[in-house]
Symmetry: D2
Subunit: 325 residues, 4 copies
Amino acid sequence: MNTFGRIFRISIFGESHGPMIGVTIDGCPHGIPLKVEDFQADLERRRSGTLGTTPRREEDLPEIVSGWFNGFTTGVPLTIIFHNKDIRSADYIDIKDHPRPGHADFVARQKFGGFNDYRGGGHFSGRMTLALVAAGVVAKKIIPSISIFALLIEAGGNSDIIQAVKEAQEQGDSIGGIVECRAGYISVGYGEPFFDSVESVISHLAFSIPAIKGIEFGSGFSSAKMLGSQHNDPIIDESGKTSSYNAGGVSGGLTNGNELIFRVAVKPTSSISKPQQTYNFTSEKVDELNVEGRHDTCIALRVPVVLEAITAIALADFTLMTRKK
Amino acid sequence: MNTFGRIFRISIFGESHGPMIGVTIDGCPHGIPLKVEDFQADLERRRSGTLGTTPRREEDLPEIVSGWFNGFTTGVPLTIIFHNKDIRSADYIDIKDHPRPGHADFVARQKFGGFNDYRGGGHFSGRMTLALVAAGVVAKKIIPSISIFALLIEAGGNSDIIQAVKEAQEQGDSIGGIVECRAGYISVGYGEPFFDSVESVISHLAFSIPAIKGIEFGSGFSSAKMLGSQHNDPIIDESGKTSSYNAGGVSGGLTNGNELIFRVAVKPTSSISKPQQTYNFTSEKVDELNVEGRHDTCIALRVPVVLEAITAIALADFTLMTRKK
Amino acid sequence: MNTFGRIFRISIFGESHGPMIGVTIDGCPHGIPLKVEDFQADLERRRSGTLGTTPRREEDLPEIVSGWFNGFTTGVPLTIIFHNKDIRSADYIDIKDHPRPGHADFVARQKFGGFNDYRGGGHFSGRMTLALVAAGVVAKKIIPSISIFALLIEAGGNSDIIQAVKEAQEQGDSIGGIVECRAGYISVGYGEPFFDSVESVISHLAFSIPAIKGIEFGSGFSSAKMLGSQHNDPIIDESGKTSSYNAGGVSGGLTNGNELIFRVAVKPTSSISKPQQTYNFTSEKVDELNVEGRHDTCIALRVPVVLEAITAIALADFTLMTRKK
Amino acid sequence: MNTFGRIFRISIFGESHGPMIGVTIDGCPHGIPLKVEDFQADLERRRSGTLGTTPRREEDLPEIVSGWFNGFTTGVPLTIIFHNKDIRSADYIDIKDHPRPGHADFVARQKFGGFNDYRGGGHFSGRMTLALVAAGVVAKKIIPSISIFALLIEAGGNSDIIQAVKEAQEQGDSIGGIVECRAGYISVGYGEPFFDSVESVISHLAFSIPAIKGIEFGSGFSSAKMLGSQHNDPIIDESGKTSSYNAGGVSGGLTNGNELIFRVAVKPTSSISKPQQTYNFTSEKVDELNVEGRHDTCIALRVPVVLEAITAIALADFTLMTRKK
């Protein structure tokens, strides 16, 4: 199921080492000004090449191939593609029968009967987040008055993130982190009771980002230790403003007029330079694997822009859903 | 959006103080033996009446009104209803213009232009989980070989849960808790890459349960502090068995053949006996509210069976999706 | 799949001889005034009891059990139920193993492994259209400025419909008919290119009405015999008004500002008083069946109000969809 | 809404004069052998260049850019693209403000606020059926034991189709036609009661093909003139075989084990060489339009392969749905 959304519906396609990666946005309103340059800033934030990220460098130039005319969206499916170029598939031949721990290699092999494109993780690759970021750029244009900002607030349990990355790198190991996202100036009443609560939709999208293993809204897991009298946010005016923010801006599954705040837990990058033990389908026993390929030491460094993107996608869809009902 | 699922699709309806609450399951296979008594155990676990739960007592007798014939499901929509009986709506007149902190009163009023049924929280009531539990009973019958078990492992930050509840009760306050759910004997490869990852679907459903504010799979938030060499679960046989369980049984969004493990954070019950400050639309200022009605001291006590239900619903749908593709 | 719609989503449940038939409308806007009496006129038009219709008489009193408060819709799922009362199930014992020609008895038996509720056709019964008519009443309230009117224009190939019905009745036989539906004052641009064209959505719903075997828009099948110069409707003003109506009000799958016109073909009622040959699973050979139960001579007499209902449902959904972009 | 299907879901994108046209199939099973040559026969049947079709000639070489590895489908989204090459956009400058009768020019302009790509009809172009045919080729591979065959049985009211086309061509006019589709060897019980009846799903897809204005199953519109005793198909064996085929192979919305038979009415090609009257937004009055561009005299000639494609798409989805219960 590679489609998500009610009105603003995104579908992604492609594989890490296939010819291209793409996203189609169906239900995108017409008349939105859009140019290739608009993608640059967010794509650059997602790109690798800096401390702690993989040396694989793709130019990642978006091509808009449908739903775009004379600089504006036309209202029909908007499709954006990225050609894959810097591919070193030879690095991945081994993983077919010697699945990397922490990766999807084993489950993909089983689910797809061995027909999966295993090179670079295939469709399970973090490279697919390129499509999410591109869709996020469009989504942000639909909700220009909402501010969205995500930040890596901790890596490897350390708030000095640069230091944490360097240490892990020296050890040939990897680390995870916590990314916090805040979105402000959202109207009251986004979301639907029960199955389309704001928390449901955002968590659904957030867990589509590889490496995310937890999400919490407002006080989140800390709430479980609080008293009701501490946790309840007193409402202090007719706009719904509260004097504390334990709910993270969501009450009864709906936005309550305060800042939306949530955090995700990003696990350490699965690929590490250290040798690891894993089952080998060829030798039919557990043996040592050295993961080839180029890896991020801390994939969490690249998550903030993706988290912003999925937040924008969710909020754009809620905005379109909520209009004039 | 009160419908969820791909093949096994559930829709819920009703309000806390309306005539009934119900669930329709579309896509339920035919030929499943089902009787009213089958619902009893799980409904009883969800019911109140014991320490820390509300004194509102409903008989909660399910009536199967569609899709059922001669003791078996027929394959057409299966509808189960529960009549509401023990209603004391007079307790709720105030909340229309004096929204309770922590509840959906304010957001529901704004979203639905004041037309919402505010009595007992209306459609936002925790009473709606009755419909989820009923659907869960049916779902469990579709996946008889999968074991699902959820447990409240901590309340108010305390592992002595009875003690924690008593203390909160004495103070007229409320507490939250952590519920852990484990599901065993699941085939490899449930879930779809990206938008229907197992984590996406389970979290989507989990956040539809009122009071849930966080979810984590496997090591979850702790993963963010680990090294890759610690977090990666070594695969030790051809069935995908791993020697550690940091992934919580999900790799690349798909079940990996190990036990599925996740935890949710439940916030403290919003209704407390202590007076609280909140905006009053009548007086047009913040003033004191005493929440009437009958409440749970620790709603988390009633969450395990609901969490099992949504897990069963998700896994039943994955099972039907995965069959013979 | 008993759910249809994008924003205004209807789900139906129930069986002909079960306890009730119902419809849930998810996505129904809040604040729509609604009372039980509003359903009376359309339900009465659908009811039997007049020339050519079955003597089974149900009171068909709607009960609104969710999504309704103080006389208005609340914005959460709106559920309307009808209790079944005038049931004579004994009439149907034979059909389990001796399927009636023209009915769903055989296919339902095979599809649902014999677990289907065969009494009165079960979920395949024309009685389910009661749920469609109820949803249509609500839909019409969402599009008050659109006029929708359907008429039986021919029965048994005869425009003197009363005469045609009488003749068939005397022979113990049944007849079909043609129903035309017109909807006026629709904005330009309803529908989506390709898969949600107006024709696609209306035909999808129309073929959910039992006994419909064909649909055509505008000149329909006659178009196939026309020249382009005859068929093309010249546009004569800036509102899109055309001087002829061969397109039936739909161009490129979208409403074009002119009256929407379509016709459906209704087959003759499958139940007839004459003996018929059909396979008997008990005797394991073809033998004679006398269809018991009470039948309509011309089910097409009851189709117009159902066709109006599904048209209103489609147009209400398009209206809500269009508002959102 | 450019997505359709439950399990086998197709999404199309592109515009007539944009860089490419494409289709993504989500839910396509893995392990299906597929090569570029497999598309050739059906694409060739759809192509123009013969009597009565447009002189625009595209090579229409499919490129498989996602979900395909080593000659087999991988189980992740399968995307197939076609580059547009033989474009003469200059022919279409006029139509922006001088909409062609019969075409979507006017409605597209209004719906999309003038932002639509009007060149060659943009996304409303019959060229989009290329994507449907490509998806049909894949669908046919999922249902190898089902035969599907569509034929133009009448053009311009004439069964001598070549003669009819020649006459229209001489007059600079266009004609429509009737296409019949038959599918054999389908299991009993495809389809779902009510909203996913076989007739509902096939008609939904059929009306997504530009120029289709009517559809009928089995005896279709003739049924409306028949008696029940004539129309009911007697069941003659335990497999559901009937001795007549008035139902067209569908009872109660489900396949009944007999050949599926339906016919569509194709309107005459909207583009004709004769001058036509239509509203001119520039001159603000009705004036004469000469439609430039290259056109089909009888678009119905190219419909059979598209109708087979949508039938295969529907049946592939039903096949996958049916396996899952």
